[in-house]
Subunit: 327 residues, 2 copies
Amino acid sequence: MIQPRYLIGVDLGGTNIVVGAMSADGTAMHAVRSEPTRAQDGADAVTARIARLIEDTIAGTIAETGAQRSDFVGVGVGAPGPLDRATGVVLITPNLGWKDFPLRDRISAAVGLPTALDNDANCATLGEWWIGAAKGARHAIGITIGTGIGGGIILDGALYHGASGIAGEIGHTSIETNGRRCNCGNYGCLEAYASGTAIATRAREALAAGESSQLSTLVDGALDRITAQKVYEAAELGDAVALHVVRETARFLGTGIANLLNIFNPDVVVVAGGVTQAGEALFEPLRAEVRRRAFKPAVDVCRIVPGVLPGTAGVAGAVAAFLQQHP
Amino acid sequence: MIQPRYLIGVDLGGTNIVVGAMSADGTAMHAVRSEPTRAQDGADAVTARIARLIEDTIAGTIAETGAQRSDFVGVGVGAPGPLDRATGVVLITPNLGWKDFPLRDRISAAVGLPTALDNDANCATLGEWWIGAAKGARHAIGITIGTGIGGGIILDGALYHGASGIAGEIGHTSIETNGRRCNCGNYGCLEAYASGTAIATRAREALAAGESSQLSTLVDGALDRITAQKVYEAAELGDAVALHVVRETARFLGTGIANLLNIFNPDVVVVAGGVTQAGEALFEPLRAEVRRRAFKPAVDVCRIVPGVLPGTAGVAGAVAAFLQQHP
């Protein structure tokens, strides 16, 4: 039997680093490792941490599969943007505090493997397209809802990057011309209404306005401890305020996704991230809102589905990004 | 000298049909003919009218250039959508009253030339990309503002059509979740705020609310005779109400175009149609609004410019659509 080639995927986030190995055909993921990023230690320390995790993953994969060191052919890295794919430089990362850091070449030098860099949200979408919820789709849009809202665009089976590499900022499209101020400076961004942060804010506002909710109990009365996670938990308990917040979120996302259907007419939209924990309480009204708004020929051909690779879409996508950059 | 090949472009609108011939290299347009569509005569009569205009254009081009009938190699047709490019069938056209009409093959049979069909808004964008304001751009977005708002998307130098051919409906993206009802059924569509129709409506609303304006004089006090055209005329005269309407239009368009910059990160956005008559009174605040909203790396690489082919972008684009379908 010929030993398959293996690739390493790195998902570098503001909170955690996740690393895993995959066979080049995407059928298996091995030796997934995770550690806190601890960005405050600085870029050199984080790079060393990533390199050590990669070596751990390689050793673990060799132990699991009988592969050899020479079977590992490349590393894909998904990092917070904006970044320059051509030079492999992370330009600015508010979450990490880096500026113009040559992450790709530093990792490549540390582990002695060719390395590719792409945006984390692009990688998450590419992972779902390669082996997850959007597998086999020609045109796929990915929306990852966490602290913020990231997006990725796959057209004709390849990531679309735009003229200067920042395409896909779906979270920063305005659905309210004069709406809530967004961290990016724009007004009424989807992110300002439907991110995890915004979901928590809207729940907090409802409680601060005097609505009674089991959410208060869940956080022992401390409103500042309300998170999106707590809202989903309360919604699952049938709490009216939490259910209303989830339903509103579905409507905001429905507006944004209907816009994407009328613009891209995609085969699939994958919604990933913590928000998918709300399950059908979110997806049912979300799909209804999209049907109410978008053109029927676009609605008829498009699946709107939750991501199926929580925690590992970014790793798989980083591997796929390496493969797309080294065809 | 070798005689160049010629192609015919047909721009079929609800009001007028425009036909012209172009050399295959796009350097010259010949024998442009135009006639009212008179859709009420029915699909057969309109098809016959188009065929006659094509023959007129061929005869005129032969007279102008010394070409022969055999130098004409194809016909491109831009028609109101939705339509099926693969079968050449116009599915539904509210403006023309047609349903499932095999326009492509009917024209092809009538003039004896291979024929290609695409959406009129796509053709208008493709024309500006081929020989107009977006010439040479890798990624270009076109917005045509008339009665409604049409859109076209060119990525990597080719029209993007999406999964079922209806991509690019930029006019039907919501910039106000709970905004004005649009003809398409959605709420807050860009078209409901910034189309020619919406511009006239907003001016009428301002006057009906008692604001005094030279617009009243321009239409002899008959508010129902206010058109977008009259608003641009009044703005040019320095009328405060008209200038405010144009400025508001710029802000609405700025919101929609900033969204497109964050999504597509294009090289150029071409804004075409009657609205460009407002000139810098529109484009200056529009560009400012986009700068205020979109990501800087997207703003820095993107030109936002008026179309330069009023009246003929659709003809040129129909020819280019033929060439893209018959490479």
